[in-house]
Amino acid sequence: MVLEIKTSALEPVRNVYANLERRFGDKAASRYQEATYDLQSVVNFHYRPLWQPQHELNDRARTAIVMSDWYDFKDPRQFYYGAYVQNRAKMQEIAESDFAYFDKRALKDNLSPKVCDYLIHRLLPLRHAESTANLNNMYGCAFGFGTAITQALLYNAMDRLGIAQYLSRIGLLLDHNSGSSLAAAKDSWLHAAEWQGLRALCEQMTVVQDWFEVVLAQNLVLDTLVFDLFYRQMDDKLVADGARDVALLTDFMRSWNKDICRWFDAVVKAAAAESDANRAQLNQWIADWRARAAEALAPIASAALGDDALAQALAALDTRVSKLGLGA
């Protein structure tokens, strides 16, 4: 027997907002489309910003990258605020239960004092680098053009605060919530010779004018290196040192990184596909920041992970860049 559900339907007069109809045709739009496309004002500004009279309030010309349609930077994850918050809440739940498990089973007791010290001085100072990552993405959000990219940059900026917090919580697990590990890590960040290269690079990044250059330097170049060093290679090293359980506490960063790479690769691809001028500009930035990041990370990479660690991370970066169809 075939069951037929019969209904009488009233056809809606219009399926979708006019701006979306012009882009995608007259059919129901997704929430992401409604919350993204053409949202940012582009005309009828009353005055130019006093602090930058050569630009409009929202101006395409704040970067050397040129796009005919800035909404080509579509987020493949289709994150608008609601979807983003739901997704991260799920990830947070998993991370929280990992932390709770670590605490409940007293897994810290399996870590030797040497390993604890290693984590405090070789991993925790990254908290401060995450703060820069937050700033850089915020800068892109503030001065970027088109909601498609600015909203994704804002989400990324907030994620970086989350990662910094998880790093802090690792410290609090190690020092029984006294905060002494965080003070020690900050001291390392400020004074230990091997961190100074990265610290200087972080400061240099925050004064770059071109917002696309900043987010590219941060999200593609530096992050690929940092994540390979501190969340892949360091993980292998910790396993070898009998501290396998620490992986529970850094799992959020690894799954987060996978998600972010998918989005940012799409952004870079879209910019490169637009024109040869964009491609050349991206290649120049990547080469430039690759050299600077390599120099900045060299001391901490060899101090924390040995002499060929940086070479491995650079190979990971080169692989990612060539997959994007960029690079030499």
Partner: protein, 88 residues
């Protein structure tokens, strides 16, 4: 040739599934009804995991189809990567 069909709830997830089905089955007929989207095709209809993941921008298990599924008609053959409706 008898028709196979599938009906999905009209929600955010299902929209992407429907878009993927549209791409993979160019001849399929799509009827948008209140709160429900019904798709039918003569003989065969395929739902591919990879196409849906492309549209959604995230990993998607074929089993998640059940979260939006109302009804379907046809013999089902499925593996990890695709589900096919057809009549034997």
């Amino acid at each position: 040739m008898s028709k196979v069909y599938i009906a999905l709830q009209d929600n955010d997830d299902a929209r992407y599934i429907v878009e993927a089905i549209e791409d993979d089955n160019p001849d399929a007929v799509i009827q948008r009804q209140p709160a429900m989207i019904r798709i039918e095709n003569s003989g065969r209809l395929v739902i591919r995991k990879a196409s849906v993941e492309d549209k959604m921008g995230r990993d998607w298990e074929l089993q998640e189809l059940h979260l939006s599924l109302i009804t379907l008609g046809g013999n089902v053959s499925e593996d990890e990567d695709e589900m096919v409706l057809h009549w034997n």
